[in-house]
Amino acid sequence: MTSEAVTRLDSASEAPRSVGIGLILRRLLRDPVAVFSLLVLTLLLIALLAAGQVAPYDPLRQNLRLRNLPPGTPSADEGGFPHILGTDELGRDLLSRLIHGARVSLAVGLGSALLSGTAGTALGIVAGYYGGRLDDLIMRLVDLQMSFPFLLLALLVLYALGPGFVNVILVLALVRWMVYARVARGLTLAMRTSPFIDAARVTGNSDLRIIRRHLLPNLASPLVILFTLEIAALILGEAALSYLGFGVQKPEPSWGLMIEAGKSYVSTAWWLTTFPGLAIFLTALSLNLLASSLRAISDPVQRERWLNAGLKERP
C-alpha cells in the first residue's frame, strides 16, 4: 500500500505540463542528432519520389571505359556532372545508382512494413480482445516465429517462390507480422477490462466499433513507433536477402546487391562497397533515432525529462 502511495505521489509531482507541437518541434530542432536524422529521411523521401529527376545519370547506363573510377572523377561528357561517388564495375554512376537504390529499399521497407503491420495488428487485436483458443493459436505461432531466425525463414520461402521484388515484399511481411501481433495483443489485453471499454460496451457499441473507435486510437502511438523500427529492420532484411542472391535481382539497383557486386573489388575500389553500406546504415540509423525520439515524445513522463534536458542545455 505504501509503495503505491509513493508512486502516486511521484507521478503527481511530475505531472506533465500540456505540450504543444511547437515546443516539441523546437526541442527536436535543437537536438543535432534529431536534425541529422530528419535531414537524412527528407533526402530519402526526395529520392523515393523523384529519383529520375534528381539522379545525374541513368543508373543502368554502362560504359566499360569508365569502370571503377574513384570518387570525384570529372565527367567524360562535356560539362557533365562529375562522378562525385565514382563509378562501379560496369562504369555506371554510383551516386545515381544509390539514389535509385533508395527507391527500391524504401519501397520494399514501406510496403512490407504496411502489409505486416496491418495483418499483425489485426491478428494481435483479435487475439487479445476475444482470447480463448484463437488467442492460444495465434500466440503459439507468434512464439514460434519469434524464436526462429527470420532470415532463414525468408530464405526458405524465397527458395520455393523464387526471387524478385514483389516476392521479397510478401516474404518479409510474412516473416515479421508477429512483432506487431505481440505488441497489439499485449496492449489490447491490458485495456480490454478497463472502464472506458466497459462503458462503450454497456452503451451498446458493437465489437467492431469498440475496436475501431476506442481501442485502435490507444494503440496508435506504440504501433507507429514499432512501424518506424520495423521499416529499418526490413530495409536491412532486404539488403541481406539481395546480398545473398535471393532478393531483388540484377540489374535493379538495390543497395544490398551493390555491396555484393562491389565485394570482389574491396581492395582496389573501396567506394563500391563503402557508399551503399553507408546509405543503408544512415537510413536505418535515422529511422531508429526517430523512433527513439518518438518514444520519448509519446510517453508523458519521459517527455518531461526529454524536454527539460534539451531546452535547458542551450537557453
Partner: protein
C-alpha cells in the same frame, strides 16, 4: 517446476513438428522440388529418375507421412551435392557456429550492459546521447557491410588477421567482432530502459535515503533487477544471432551452419536444406528451454507460481 518443464517440453515437440511441416510445404508444395533440384533444362528422363528417388510419385499425404517418419528417425536422405547422408554433415558444422556465437555474446553482454548502464545513469545527457547513437548503430548496420569494412581496414590496409577461413585466432577475430555489434546494441538499449524503469521504483529511493552510495544503488540494487528483462530477450537474441551467422559465415567463409544453409539453398540440395533447418530448430528449442530454466530460477515469482500449478 517439473510439471512446468514438462509442459514446455511438450510445446517444443509441437514446435519441431510445425517447423518440419513448414520445410515440407516450402520444399514440396510451393515449388516443384524436382525442377528446383534439376533445373529447367533437364531431360524428361532425368526428371523422372529424381522424382522416384525423392518419393515424389506418391500422393501428398503419404509423402508427408514418410517425410515426418524419416525426420523423426533422423533420416534426411543423401545430399545431392555432397553425395553423403546430409545430417552428419550438418552436425559437424555445429561447433564452428557455436564458438562464433559464444564469442560474440561474451563480447556483447558485458559491453552492452556497461553501455546501457552508463546511459541510464544520466538520461538525455550528452553521454546518453552518444551511447544511444552507438547502440542504435548496432541494430542499424548490415553485418555483411561491417564485415567488408573490417576486411578493408584490417587485412587489406594493415595486414592484420585473415580475411576468410577457419583455424586459429587470426581467423576468428573479425567474424566475432562483426557478429557482436548487433546484440551489443540491443542489449545496451534494453539495459538502459530496464534500468530506467528500476531507478524510478520506490526501493531505489529507499536505498538512496538510507545513504547508500549512488554507484552501489545503481550497479548492485537496480542492475540486479534489470537483469531479468535482459535475460528474457536472450531467446530472441539467439534467433537474431543465427540470422547474423548466416551472413557473417558466408562473408568470412566460416564453416558453420549458416554458410552450409546458404550453400545448400544455392545448390537446391533439398535433403541438406531439410537437415539444416531441422538442426537449427532443435538447437533453438534446446537453448530456449535452458533460458526458461535460468529465468525460472532467477525469478522466484515464476518459480513459485509454476510450483503451485504442479
Amino acid at each position: 517446476m517439473l510439471a512446468y518443464l514438462g509442459r514446455r517440453l511438450l510445446q517444443s515437440v509441437a514446435v519441431t513438428f510445425v517447423v518440419l511441416s513448414l520445410v515440407f510445404v516450402a520444399g514440396r508444395i510451393l515449388g516443384d522440388p524436382v525442377r528446383l533440384v534439376v533445373g529447367i533444362e533437364a531431360s524428361e528422363e532425368r526428371v523422372q529418375r529424381v522424382r522416384e528417388q525423392l518419393n515424389l510419385n506418391q500422393p501428398l499425404g503419404e509423402q508427408y507421412a514418410t517425410f515426418i517418419g524419416d525426420a523423426l528417425s533422423l533420416q534426411f536422405g543423401v545430399s545431392f551435392w555432397q553425395k553423403v547422408p546430409a545430417l552428419p554433415r550438418v552436425l559437424e558444422r555445429i561447433p564452428a557456429t557455436l564458438t562464433l556465437a559464444a564469442a560474440a555474446l561474451a563480447l556483447a553482454l558485458p559491453l552492452g550492459i556497461t553501455l546501457g548502464a552508463l546511459s541510464a545513469l544520466r538520461p538525455w545527457s550528452r553521454v546518453d546521447r552518444i551511447t544511444n547513437v552507438i547502440s542504435l548503430g548496432g541494430v542499424s548496420i548490415v553485418e555483411f557491410w561491417l564485415a567488408l569494412m573490417l576486411i578493408l581496414i584490417f587485412p587489406v590496409r594493415l595486414g592484420w588477421f585473415k580475411t576468410s577461413g577457419y583455424g586459429g585466432i587470426e581467423y576468428f577475430v573479425l567474424p566475432a567482432l562483426t557478429l557482436c555489434y548487433k546484440p551489443l546494441g540491443r542489449i545496451a538499449q534494453i539495459t538502459r530502459s530496464a534500468l530506467l524503469d528500476e531507478l524510478a521504483k520506490p526501493y531505489v529511493k529507499a536505498a538512496r535515503a538510507r545513504g547508500l552510495k549512488e554507484r552501489r544503488v545503481v550497479f548492485v540494487h537496480a542492475l540486479k533487477n534489470a537483469a531479468v528483462p535482459v535475460l528474457t530477450i536472450s531467446g530472441d537474441e539467439l534467433a537474431a544471432l543465427l540470422n547474423g551467422a548466416i551472413i557473417v559465415e558466408t562473408v568470412f567463409g566460416w564453416p558453420g551452419i549458416g554458410r552450409l544453409t546458404i550453400q545448400a539453398l544455392e545448390r537446391r540440395d533439398l535433403p541438406m536444406v531439410e537437415a539444416t533447418v531441422f538442426v537449427v530448430a532443435i538447437f533453438i528449442i534446446v537453448t530456449n528451454l535452458l533460458v526458461d530454466m535460468a529465468y525460472t530460477w532467477l525469478n522466484p515469482r515464476i518459480r513459485f507460481s509454476a510450483a503451485g500449478d504442479a
